[in-house]
């Protein structure tokens, strides 16, 4: 019987190759697929294109791949907080495609849902619109954006089951659900992997059909980028 559950991250990432395009969930360092990123570092795959809202920080998240010069191109909406990134970008070593955050999310969702293209107002009249079709709807200008294409999507969830069903936690949800099913193969790493039937079918954020491989992640660091507190 076909099983989605993989024993570990190495088994889950079988098939990743140089030159591929990967989607990676997370916002800042929140909800990133830590295990998958570590394995990509270990594997040393090169010339990859990463679709991810952010590029990590210098020594964590996608910053780890940047340091090893594994990334050829980043597709992101916000890439601050990362000196090495800025250096590689300004020196021309790294190709960068900046996309409005909502458009980025929807280009994932369009790939997931089988829409080749959609009109959005975001970016009209800016650099982002260059070379794109412009059209007026309801008296307002919009640009045509196309769905992403990717080989693997790496996402991180809170709980998951053997059927691939996923539940995310808090704002660690972010781009993760949008990327499920948006690539040829979606690999989900979860904090807690449970047998089928343990998750309430009414509370599942991403049905298993969007996930091809799932594994129990380990050693989550869950680093906090801006620890802000108030006094009692």
């Amino acid at each position: 019987m076909i099983r989605k559950t993989k024993a570990n991250v190495t088994e889950a990432l079988v098939g990743v190759q140089d030159g591929m395009t990967f989607m990676l969930g997370g916002f800042g360092l929140c909800g990133i697929p830590e295990n998958a990123i570590s394995e990509l570092v270990r594997l040393g795959v090169k010339d990859i294109t990463c679709i991810s809202n952010n590029a990590g920080v210098d020594d964590f998240g996608l910053g780890l791949l940047l340091h090893q010069h594994q990334i050829k191109k980043m597709v992101s909406s916000y890439v601050g907080e990362n000196d090495e990134f800025e250096r590689q970008m300004l020196s021309g070593e790294l190709e960068v495609e900046l996309t409005p955050q909502g458009t980025l999310a929807e280009k994932c969702r369009a790939a997931q849902a089988g829409f080749p293209a959609f009109f959005t107002p975001a970016g009209y009249g800016t650099e982002v619109a260059e070379g794109k079709e412009v059209r007026e709807f309801n008296g307002k200008m919009h640009i045509l954006e196309e769905a992403f294409k990717a080989d693997f999507a790496f996402v991180k969830a809170w709980k998951g089951d053997a059927a691939g069903n996923l539940i995310f936690k808090g704002t660690a949800r972010n781009f993760n659900p949008c990327m499920c099913g948006a690539a040829t193969i979606t690999v989900a790493e979860v904090e807690e992997l449970v047998p089928e039937g343990e998750l309430d079918p009414n509370q599942i954020h991403i049905p298993g059909i969007f996930v091809q491989r799932i594994f129990q992640g380990k050693d989550y660091e869950k680093r906090i980028e801006q620890r802000t507190v108030r006094q009692k």
């Binding site: 916002f27 909406s77 955050q101 107002p121 659900p177 869950k222």
Partner: protein, 217 residues
Amino acid sequence: MLDKNGIAKRIAQEVEDGYYVNLGIGIPTLVANYVRDDISVEFQSENGILGMGPFPIEGEEDADLINAGKQTITALPGASYFDSATSFAMIRGKHVDLTILGAMEVAENGDIANWKIPGKMVKGMGGAMDLVASAENIIVAMMHTNRAGESKILKRCSLPLTGVGCVKKIVTNLAVLEVTEDGFLLLERAPGVTVDDIKTATEGNLIIKGEVKEMNV
């Protein structure tokens, strides 16, 4: 002249009962501290929370609960979490009532630039392009001039644009301005600031109609 908190305080007066508000990074974040507590307002953060509360008490930080500025936060009763596509459905679909964000430059035609300095700084637009392209009620919070004393309230933006013709209102350390067809209409001046001070600090066309009242902050 206002400091950052003063700007936030003045903007807070624009927040009405029942509003859903998206606060950008920087000065806009401070607005939450000054909203009247007899009205009901929900803050949306585009990374995926509605009903954002204050920062957590020390020791109660949750790495899985942050705002768009990557700061640890809390959730208020009635809050909800959602994915990025849903978050921007709220924004693009005009469900957010008020958007407050910072800017490097604003022009008299309502254009705004706040995401890139060519060859120098490219942090990216984040959610700003979606926000300015969709929101019908945008307030820009910014300093009137840069550190060199040059105006950031311009005839035309010199930096790459974030959005075109979208800004309606600006609150700076010197003034409250409304973007009209003819230019920047001066609505209010900051305490201790004269109309001439504002004229000097404004490169774009400044419109002065009658007496300009001082802000009540």
